[in-house]
Amino acid sequence: MSRTSANLPFTLLIAVIVVAAGAMPALSGTSFELSRYLTNAIGQLAAFAVLAISLDLIWGYLGILSLGHGLFFAIGGYVMAMYLLKHSFVVTGTVPDFLQFMGWKEFPFYWAGFDVFPYAFAVAVAVTLLISGIFGYVSFRSRVGGVYFAIITQALVYVAMLLMFRNDTGFGGNNGMTGFSVLFGWPMGTSGMITALAVASLLALALVLVACRRLVGSRFGALMLATRDDETRLRTLGYETLRLKLIVWCLSALIAMLAGMLYVPQVGIINPRVLSPELSLEIAVWVAIGGRGHLVGAVIGALLVNAVKFWLSSAAPDIWPFILSGLIVLVVLVFPNGLMDLAKLRLTRPMGPRRMATELEEARP
């Protein structure tokens, strides 16, 4: 309605994603086939883009910065890994490493049923909703916001990391889980599987983009922006902002979880490093660089930062941190709306002075 046309870039982005998803299987076998490495990389980047969207939804549109989104990403990842391991075990009989080095003869009881994907998926959703629901409810009810919320979520993901580092939790400890051989009955690591996973990730990205776009364009989306701009004002108009925030927060957690489920089969490992506070901070950096409050910005930010990181980590490993920190400072000081400013595509005005004022007040209760 009033959210003026971000239509062009949005449509373009969706088109590129869908074309890429279609082209990858179509080109296989021809001399223009993408290498497996590139295909895999594109699939991973798509998963990161989904993760970026999940954060943008609550940070850009609701004004809540989470520095713990790695937690939900990890839930998806871990559940996917559990499914893969258990499934591989059922099909091929391979006993996972962590069982071996812990000296355990069988899977812990809570692994039961994880070889059935629908069950695993349901568990992922349930756990994500449970954690995000409880944490979101108590935090939003106590009106914890702004930097406090950011710091507490960071502590939360850190706690989760410490827990998962423990080997006796039955989730592989520091080693995490790796050595997946079968997905849905198909062997992993083949060209076909790599392409299929990349295509699935791209399609999921497109789907999440379209769905989020519809959400933020709706009346509900307008209420999200209203909450971001002045929550008290909205509450004194009769709206239960607690419920609104909780719904969006849980939704965002679910999207992050989905990203984790897409990511793990493509990298072939999950371990507590995805729970490190640095990764969660980096997600915020992708969004900030791309331009928060723009779905397109979040996606482009995630793709760009990760592609550059991917390439520099082998081409010039030493300068990557300097480039990243320089980029952040540049974005923070000069382009508060990230690349969206740079491109002069001022689609909306998500960062008015009022918005900043709310942030400030949240910082000082």
Partner: protein
């Protein structure tokens, strides 16, 4: 010498324009000529950088030595270096890139067991070859990995035997303190099995784990003192913490006034580099055990140390030229073992090279003649027990007579 080539750069940055990729045919044609490529998977940033970083240069140095003698099968060796940034998934990522894009003939890399386990499925799928230069927990035997250093049965157990023996300290009680991950867990599991087989009661040992990067050892050292003071025989600490936890532990240990003559510490992952920041006069006598120590006697070691010092100076390597640690030597041996296998096979194809492993021997800087059999991909090496001296190094306290046969799967697990 070469970092990633310009071509790979273009390909990787071509992500944005996903449609443009160089045709597969062209790429494979190029891989057939020119120098043969080897890849390194050692981090030069992050928590492992201080240890892993130096191995990149050792691999290059070994390649230079081989190139100076005319290369292998008529081709010179190019070493590609990357930075997995101490981030385990990135090891797998980089390994994929090396194998799929760069078509390297062999990989040399990984320090922690986690990173090796991450890379393992990649090398198996791509049928690559990974030389792993660390002593480790064993219980693994992939045809695509060469385990260039010792599994516990041929390194840790001899050291513990020594401690338990008359010549050692007749150790009767064991405090096992480790970082909480696969290597310490597995080592301790095997040690417990070993103790049981020796009839040592369960009350005589204790197991504790701390998180990675843990540094506040005050309470744990208190626990160790309490454990030691319970009586019942000479106590020892078997230390499997890694990284910065090692110097932090040793510092606290010395600070609470415990000497090696009271409770000796066997630091299984302790190397010269861990002592760099410490006042070792209060730590004299603590032990470590590796397949190589810098003080090893013999011309091979003299030559190695001289070459390394010269290489550091000539290439401006950002690591000390007068510190040499076991994994450096294992990495060095690995390159030579690979070159010998490739020359013997007359090919760079992994299956051919693998077939040539049986019967290879090499004069390792440690002074032993290390060897491979056709039975498995393990390398038989000697064992050293070192004793910390007041010059931040290790004196050789004991060394094995020959190279014990490596046993991949521990009978005590």
């Amino acid at each position: 010498m070469v970092k990633f080539s310009r071509r790979s750069f273009l390909q990787a940055s071509g992500l944005a324009a996903a449609g443009i990729a160089s045709p597969a045919v062209l790429r494979s044609a190029m891989a057939q000529s020119g120098p043969v490529k080897l890849g390194c998977l050692f981090s030069s940033s992050g928590t492992m950088a201080n240890l892993e970083g130096r191995l990149n240069y050792v691999v290059k140095m070994a390649a230079d030595e081989i190139n100076a003698k005319g290369g292998v099968n008529g081709r010179t060796i190019d070493v590609l270096v990357s930075d997995p940034a101490s981030d385990w998934p990135l090891y797998a990522q980089t390994a994929k890139q090396m194998l799929q894009q760069e078509k390297v003939s062999a990989l040399f890399g990984c320090w922690t067991s986690v990173s090796r386990k991450t890379v393992l499925p990649v090398v198996e799928q791509e049928n690559g070859l990974l030389y792993y230069p660390l002593h480790f927990e064993g219980d693994e035997n992939s045809k695509n990995v060469v385990y260039a250093n010792s599994p516990p049965a041929s390194s840790v157990l001899p050291a513990v035997d020594y401690l338990m023996g008359e010549e050692g300290v007749s150790a009767k009680r064991f405090f096992m303190l480790g970082s909480d991950y696969v290597w310490p867990r597995t080592i301790n599991k095997q040690l417990k099995g070993y103790f049981k087989s020796k009839g040592i009661p369960e009350t005589a040992w204790k197991e504790e784990y701390v998180p990675f990067g843990f540094s506040n050892f005050q309470t744990l050292v208190n626990q160790i003192r309490a454990f030691a003071d319970q009586g019942g025989g000479q106590p020892v600490v078997i230390l499997t913490v890694v990284g910065n936890s090692i110097p932090d532990f040793m510092r606290e240990f010395a600070n609470q006034g415990i000497l090696a003559t009271d409770i000796p510490v066997l630091g299984l992952d302790m190397v010269e580099a861990d002592l760099e920041g410490l006042d070792t006069s209060k730590l004299v006598g603590h032990l470590n055990c590796w397949a190589y120590l810098q003080n090893a006697k013999g011309p091979a070691n003299e030559a190695f140390l001289k070459n390394w010092a010269a290489y550091v100076k000539a290439k401006n390597v950002p690591f000390s030229g007068d510190v040499s640690i076991d994994p450096m030597v294992s990495a060095y041996d690995s390159v030579h073992l690979w070159a010998m296998a490739a020359a013997k096979a007359g090919s760079f194809d992994v299956p051919e090279v693998s077939k040539a492993f049986a019967g290879l021997t090499f004069d390792c800087p440690s002074g032993y003649k290390i060897s491979m059999t056709g039975e498995n991909n393990y390398v038989a090496r000697g064992v050293f027990i070192g004793s910390v001296n007041d010059k931040q190094g290790f004196d050789i306290l004991w060394q094995s007579k020959d190279t014990p046969k490596p046993v991949p799967f521990s009978p005590y697990g």
